[in-house]
């Protein structure tokens, strides 16, 4: 991670001993001007060391982290280090994980996709079959419906801990509609059961309209084959819908005339309202945003110029605007949106800011193409209470203290 201008102020930062993201900084001056750096005095590493490249060892803290302690390490989640990333693409090794029965080790030659139920021709596809179809590549975010927290988190909470069940990639595959047309969808088919080949045989019911709209059967992610933890060799991708529905290790699609009422859409992944009734089939991830710099755990080294930067997204389409406040919401300014601004994709926003050294409360709120404005926590809790567990998309404030430390505020 390249230090941001203004964050590392030479000697001041060295005295502190860390960068804004917590990376240790060498105290040695022997490689600094006027001295010749040691890495210029000898040949560097050879090519192909290693054949599949890895990040610099100095980036060893840019990693996924387990979100919360869970009874098992296979039905568990990890988060993407949003505060350490630039742009909108999540490197494949940092894509968040949500597994319900571990990551299966699947031989692609032994993997099959079965399509049956209300179809004219029940079919079985090999991976060779599926990669033979005309393909498309599209950039989409995937966000877990459990992203964000209805509970108030500790002040030391980072952007990764607050909203890190969120990643974005270029996904390549075949439109689901193309494959369903091969099987021939029968009249009356209204839902589709997607089932994974993991130890949970993860299943969700998908409305046929979504299947025919923008759903993809994906086999590649950012140019290479899916990572095992992202569903290798085949996953469903339902853009803008809650992540668990984009069933990984996809092995079966069964068309039916009603939802299948699996555990994952009844006992789990339903949203309990204050009156004790649970909302079912709440698919869309609503507009959301988070400032990734400055964010929790980072530190500003003195007053001056900074660039506030963050991510905005909406499961309903494009982000049309992001507003940022540095005074707790009294005044809002429009941030610049970095192109490309794509539907159901992360959008990077930026806003120049001169910090006067006084305490500041930073907020961001996104607006999407439907006109929806990301709500405050108070507005969201007023409607949904505190027990709905999923679909928390409230504004995330960050408190900047006079000493430059940045902490989480609910």
């Amino acid at each position: 991670m390249v230090p941001r201008r203004g964050v590392l102020k030479g000697a001041a930062a060295l005295a502190a001993g860390t960068t804004a993201t917590g990376r240790a900084v060498s105290q040695s001056r022997s490689n600094l001007p006027p001295n010749i750096p040691e890495w210029m005095k000898t040949q560097g590493a050879t090519i192909l060391s290693p054949p599949y490249g890895l990040p610099s060892p100095f980036e060893k803290n840019v990693i996924r982290r387990q979100r919360t302690r869970t009874p098992t390490q296979t039905a568990a989640t990890t988060t993407t280090p949003l505060q350490d990333l630039q742009g909108i693409i999540t490197p494949n090794g940092l894509h968040f994980e949500r597994d319900h029965g571990g990551v299966p080790a699947i031989d692609p030659d032994q993997h099959r996709l079965m399509v049956h139920g209300l179809v004219e021709r029940p079919l079985i596809f090999t991976m060779d079959d599926l990669t033979r179809f005309p393909s498309v590549s599209r950039l989409y975010f995937i966000e877990c419906s459990g992203n964000g927290s209805w509970n108030v988190l500790p002040p030391a909470t980072t952007a990764q801990e607050s909203r890190g069940l969120l990643s974005c990639a270029e996904w390549t595959g075949v439109p689901l509609a193309t494959v369903l047309a091969e099987a021939g969808v029968k009249p009356g088919a209204a839902w589709l059961l997607a089932e994974g080949a993991d130890a949970a045989a993860m299943t969700r019911s998908v409305p046929i309209a979504k299947a025919m709209d923008d759903a993809l059967l994906c086999y590649s992610q950012n140019g290479e084959r899916l990572r095992p933890e992202q569903g290798y060799p085949l996953r469903l991708l339902l853009p803008g819908f809650e992540g668990n529905m984009s069933v990984k290790w996809l092995r079966r699609l069964k068309l039916g005339d009603q939802p299948f009422q699996t555990r994952e859409e009844t006992g789990q992944y339903s949203d309990l309202m204050p009156n004790g009734v649970a909302r079912q089939f709440t698919f869309v991830m609503e507009a959301n945003s988070i400032i990734t710099f400055p964010s929790g755990g980072q530190r500003l080294h003195g007053p001056g110029s900074y660039e506030i930067s963050g991510l905005a997204w909406s499961g309903r389409g494009r982000v049309t605007g992001v507003e940022v406040s540095t005074d707790g919401g009294r005044q809002w300014r429009r941030a610049a949106l970095q192109e490309p601004v794509l539907t159901k994709c992360l959008t990077r926003f930026r806003l120049p800011w001169t910090w006067d050294g006084a305490p500041a409360l930073l907020l961001s709120r996104s607006i999407d193409e439907t006109g929806y404005i990301q709500p405050s926590r108070a507005k969201l809790v007023a409607v949904r209470g505190l027990n709905s567990h999923y679909h928390y998309n409230a504004i995330q404030p960050w408190q900047v203290a006079a000493d430059g430390t940045v902490t989480y505020v609910a």
Binding site: L123, T203, T262, T266, G276, T282
Partner: protein, 183 residues
């Protein structure tokens, strides 16, 4: 990277697709990829069970038989009476859903008894999923429902009786999605 097949088969498929429409109204496949799934192949993988009981296999299981299966395969994680342990509770929580501390269990929250069968069959026991026989799944389903006072001690469940079990929170769910609801 998986090797792509030659283009010969594509030409054959296109040629088929270009034939004049026949008596059948259903559109023909555009590519002809994949192969027919046999009834036997489908039967082996078609493990889902719907709320109306569609998909339930032949077989049956009693509460008494389920007590044995549960003690051996489930109790270590979910507690001997379903009160919970390392993993979530399966019983209790009645009347808590509208409170400040809702307890969502099979008994207090799940709307369909068939979902319990479906989930146990596909994903339990955690260390050996899809290892139970249909009779064992019926039995352990019966036992968990018994622990929740939803079937009597002498209950025997099968494809006919399981869908008839009335779950207390059957009407506790709403759809479609009412959002956007805030602001």
């Amino acid at each position: 990277m998986w090797p792509r097949l030659g283009v010969g088969a594509v030409c054959a498929a296109v040629a088929v697709a270009a034939l004049p429409a026949t008596a059948t109204a259903a559109p023909q496949p555009a590519y002809g990829f994949g192969r027919p799934a046999t009834a036997q192949e489908i039967a082996g993988w078609d493990i889902d069970v719907r709320a109306d009981g569609a998909g339930l296999p032949p077989g049956q299981g009693s509460v008494a038989a389920g007590r044995g299966v549960y003690g051996q395969k489930c109790a270590a994680c979910h507690g001997f009476t379903g009160e919970g342990g390392p993993m979530e509770a399966l019983v209790g929580g009645a009347g808590t859903l509208a409170s400040a501390h809702p307890v969502k269990t099979v008994g207090s929250f799940w709307p369909y008894a068939t979902t319990l069968f479906d989930y146990v069959r596909r994903a339990m026991p955690f260390n050996a999923p899809q290892s139970l026989s249909a009779d064992e799944v019926y039995a352990v389903t019966a036992y968990v429902l018994f622990l929740n006072h939803l079937v009597p001690q002498d209950a025997v469940l099968d494809a006919r009786t399981l869908p008839q079990v009335k779950m207390p929170n059957r009407n506790g769910f709403t759809s479609p999605d009412p959002r956007p609801d805030a602001p």
